[in-house]
């Protein structure tokens, strides 16, 4: 009925034809405009703020500074409670810790008035020396959180006196001892840059008081229930007095898994009793939301001559910028969602520090550490194979994880705490490898093709995994309600941020109820009207929210049968999605609904389902790149990218395919173009689309995505996640391809033409 079908997104046509759908489209017409004064310094103490002149400007309705907002510390990270991120942020603080940090918020009747007031605010700063270089941050004399009482809710290795937002270490077996026994050991250090999400819709939120005076927030958030909780805690309001509505979102990719403007519109509206809205400028999105964590990863990996990998050591330094949002969890995912790929090692160790610096904070971004880890690990595997003189495909096939196997990592490393033991119930890595090699014409093209004296082509690949939600933490729920025409309202907490989750969850409900998808009317992400859901992150929606929908639908079948049995006074009925049959006849679902609501024994049929998982079935993929390099300029052109993906059952193959294609292009951007670059005094250079280079349609070579046949018995209808895994392979696959083409190994992203050119010239001189 519903699943394994490429139906269009249920909201798609409305969005494409421009119906009002996003936060700014739906905000009250007369909303006050809220804008924020931001710090011009990377690190400073505010000695004084004078808002007298600004307040006197006609049309200015509210000015917020650190002097008149609640003081409590919190984390902007929208995660389950208690959050594994340090409480190191205030709504507004006496200290500003990066260029773009909030100093004051002004609300006024229009943008010009607000701009005038922002200019009229006089701030006296005492500048402090910032720490920008993350490799010098740990135990530096300069402490980013020296002046607050930042703390964590449980042990996350938070040590502000050492500039550590978080740290973690674990070891299984003895890595040092096992490496000594290895025939070959590869050591290498790999760098990834901070990247910006560049979602189409800037972060947006609005607020108004409803008829009963309750605070209603509309926000482009990926986690409305967490936003409600964080607001309630810091504003010291009961949760029952806050409603958070998520309308359609113009993309997020993790960038909206945090509190952004919500506090400012909430406080403005609570104080003025007037509606308000805050729409980030693109510069603010770049400068003052957050980026991916930049990392340095030191790898040691050892193997025997026959290619058996015996030990892996991964040592990470991660840069969280001014605040530690998602610091520990991203760090742990760097190891937890890469190292299990090689599960047969005798010893494995993972260590990491997440340091504070005075730049834009880092936070959640698609891949959530897995892509940083994958770059280091999958580059190392090729380097190790090179040293062993073994084919890079062969070494992977020999060592990679297979179905019915496990990895001790699953048990030891979770997200922010210990993990959960798990047997892999589906793993199509071998099939993915075969598809990738075939579609990339690996046999003919590996390692390189010399086109002429200047142009060389090379192929390279990488394998990857992700998870499907966070076991024992992520919870999702669903309520189904039968209508009097036999259709169903489906209320879900799950947050569709453009992914199509409303659609695929409707498909799952339709599949279970055996009704057409059109019979499912979806309403999602409204804390007043839909049941709880952790939010759209950690690749959880298909897997966790999907199960909650399945359970609610199964319960609805039970309700329908129960009502029919009572009506027909019988013990046995059957429901096939269309007809309810009993021994003496049958009745259609709409007919039963009519009776139930209008005729006799009237009652409303409602069912619910909620789900928390004890596993997190990893999706897998093999990504293969073919690059062409012009040796005269070092310019790398991506000709082909082949992605063979095992995400279990594809609930909606088209939507799954687009998820992978989009993730791949973000991964390709991260590999070849994108970096958030700071001057030595902490100024973000590329804070616009003119300077921050995302791939346009001109840069897209051929992208080929193929799903291998797979079914995971722990997933709803056999499905695993698909939203994130696609981003993980491009960095290693492309740099491996460059190595195979030119013989040079790039260990720092993004790959720049000048780097390739310089390395080539160095090589020529050698």
């Amino acid at each position: 009925m519903g699943v394994k079908k490429s139906i269009p997104k249920i909201d798609g046509k409305g969005l494409v034809t421009g119906k009002p759908a996003y936060t700014d489209d739906l905000s009250p017409q007369n909303a006050l405009i809220v804008k924020v004064q931001r710090s011009p310094y990377a690190y400073a103490e505010i000695m004084d703020i004078d808002v007298e002149e600004a307040s006197a400007i006609e049309g200015v309705k509210c000015i917020l500074t650190y002097k008149n907002v609640p003081e409590g510390l919190f984390t902007r990270a929208a995660q389950g409670y208690p959050e594994p991120s340090p409480y190191d942020k205030k709504i507004l603080d006496k200290y500003v810790r990066y260029i773009g940090d909030e100093v004051a918020a002004v609300a006024g009747i229009d943008e010009k008035t607000v701009d005038k007031a922002l200019d009229a605010i006089k701030v006296t700063y005492r500048q402090l020396k910032p720490i920008i270089d993350f490799e010098k941050a740990k135990d530096s004399d300069i402490l980013v959180h020296d002046h607050d009482r930042s703390y964590s809710l449980f042990d996350i290795g938070h040590a502000p006196d050492r500039n550590l937002a978080s740290s973690y270490e674990m070891e299984i077996g003895s890595v040092a001892e096992t490496l000594r026994q290895c025939d070959v050991v590869h050591e290498g250090t790999y760098y990834t840059e901070a990247n910006s999400h560049c979602m189409a819709e800037p972060h947006s939120s609005s607020a108004y008081l409803d008829l009963q005076g309750r605070l209603t927030i509309m926000s482009s958030t990926q986690a409305p229930f967490h936003i409600r909780r964080i607001l309630a805690n810091i504003l010291m309001m009961p949760i029952s007095n806050i409603r958070v509505i998520k309308p359609r979102i113009g993309g997020g990719y993790g960038g909206k898994q945090a509190v952004h403007g919500e506090f400012f519109v909430a406080l403005t509206t609570l104080r003025t009793k007037l509606p308000s809205k805050m729409i980030y400028s693109r510069k603010e999105v770049f400068q003052s939301t957050y980026t991916r964590h930049a990392t340095r990863t030191e790898m040691k990996i050892g193997a025997m001559k026959d290619g058996t990998i015996k030990a892996i050591d991964m040592n990470v330094l991660s840069n969280t910028g001014a605040y530690g949002e998602h610091a520990l969890t991203v760090l742990m995912v760097i190891g937890a969602k890469s190292l299990p790929l090689y599960n047969k090692v005798e010893a494995v160790a993972f260590r990491g520090d997440v340091v504070y610096t005075n730049i834009t904070p880092a936070g959640a971004y698609r891949g959530y550490g897995a892509v940083q880890g994958n770059f280091a690990l999958e580059s190392s595997i090729d380097e190790l194979a090179d040293k062993l003189d073994i084919d890079p495909v062969e070494i992977r096939i020999k060592n990679m994880i297979k179905v019915k196997e496990t990895s001790k990592i699953f048990e030891v490393m979770g997200e922010g705490r210990e993990g959960t033991p798990m047997i892999i119930e589906s793993c199509g890595l071998d099939k993915c490898m075969a598809v990738c090699l075939e579609k990339l014409h690996w046999k003919d093209k590996y390692p390189r093709q010399v086109i002429d004296e200047n142009i060389v082509r090379g192929v390279g690949l990488a394998i990857a995994m992700q998870g499907s939600g966070i076991p024992h933490i992520d919870m999702a729920s669903c309520i189904l309600k039968l209508n009097d025409d036999g259709s169903f309202n489906m209320m879900i907490g799950a947050t569709d941020l453009g992914t199509g989750s409303d659609t695929i969850l409707a498909q799952m409900a339709a599949e279970t109820l055996r009704v057409p998808v059109e019979k499912i009317i979806v309403y999602s992400s409204d804390t007043d009207l839909t049941p709880f859901d952790s939010g759209a992150y950690a690749s959880s929606t298909t897997f966790i929210s999907g199960h909650s929908v399945r359970i609610a639908a199964e319960n609805m079948i039970g309700e329908i049968k129960r009502a029919a049995m009572r009506h027909f006074n019988t013990d046995v009925v059957d429901f096939d999605g269309t007809l309810i049959r009993w021994e003496k006849g049958n009745i259609s679902l709409p007919e039963l609904a009519q009776i139930l609501y209008y005729s006799e024994n009237q009652e409303q049929l409602v069912s619910s389902g909620s789900y928390v998982s004890n596993t997190s079935a990893p999706p897998y993929m093999v990504g293969g790149a073919e690059v062409e390099i012009d040796k005269r300029t070092g310019k790398v052109k991506l000709l082909n990218f082949v992605a063979a993906v095992d995400c279990g059952t594809t609930i909606n193959p088209n939507l799954a395919k687009i998820q992978v294609e989009g993730a791949l292009l973000q991964g390709i951007g991260m590999t070849l173009y994108e970096e958030a670059k700071y001057t030595s005094n902490g100024h973000l250079i590329n804070n616009s689309f003119l300077k921050y280079k995302v791939p346009t349609r001109m840069e897209v070579g051929k992208i080929h995505v193929e799903f291998v046949e797979s079914y995971d018995p722990t997933g709803p209808y056999g499905a695993k996640s698909v939203g994130e895994v696609g981003i993980n392979t491009p960095p290693a696959a492309i740099t491996n391809a460059i190595k195979n083409a030119l013989g040079i190994r790039i260990r720092k992203l993004p790959v720049k033409s000048e780097t390739v050119w310089a390395m080539l010239n160095e090589k020529r001189q050698d």
């Binding site: 798609g12 189409a200 113009g250």
Partner: protein, 149 residues
């Protein structure tokens, strides 16, 4: 100041600031398909047609549009609906925020291009960015739509 604009074949009397851009004027006038994606005329999410020319409404002064024909997705419901069918059939709209601008760019492209090679299409639409789809789905949809047209 008060001006008269022709938006989607309708004359509208509107109050604007002298330095106001069409993007803001249109959104204030209830035309919500026109989106702001950046501050630097780089993203194409505010693409509209003025006198049959594709423009970024974020950098087009409203006062300049007096006496001209302004067209947004709301003004071409049938054509937009058909393009939407092809885009959604591929799942290529994803978050949808860039889609109305893309639809207007496709609308203009049909007038402006003679040769609909992939190269030409990509070049024409290069200013309409999308971060969700990876573009491949959009291109599949556009080729199929042009075939039908």
């Amino acid at each position: 100041m008060e001006i008269m604009l022709t938006i989607n074949n309708q004359k509208r009397r509107l109050l604007i600031e002298p330095d106001e851009y069409l993007l803001d004027t249109l959104r204030k006038a209830g035309i919500k398909s026109v989106k702001r994606g950046c501050d630097t005329t780089s993203c194409g999410m505010c693409s509209i047609s003025v006198d049959n020319k594709l423009v970024n409404s974020c950098s087009y002064y409203s006062i300049r549009a007096v006496g001209k024909e302004i067209l947004t997705v709301e003004g071409i419901p049938e054509e937009a609906g058909l393009i939407a069918d092809f885009i959604t059939a591929e799942g290529a709209e994803q978050c949808g925020f860039c889609s109305p601008g893309l639809v207007m760019a496709i609308h203009s492209m049909k007038h402006d291009l003679d040769d609909f090679s992939m190269e030409n299409i990509k070049h024409y639409l290069a200013g309409n960015s999308c971060r969700c789809s990876g573009y491949e789905g959009q291109h599949r949809a556009i080729l199929k739509y042009l075939e039908v047209k």
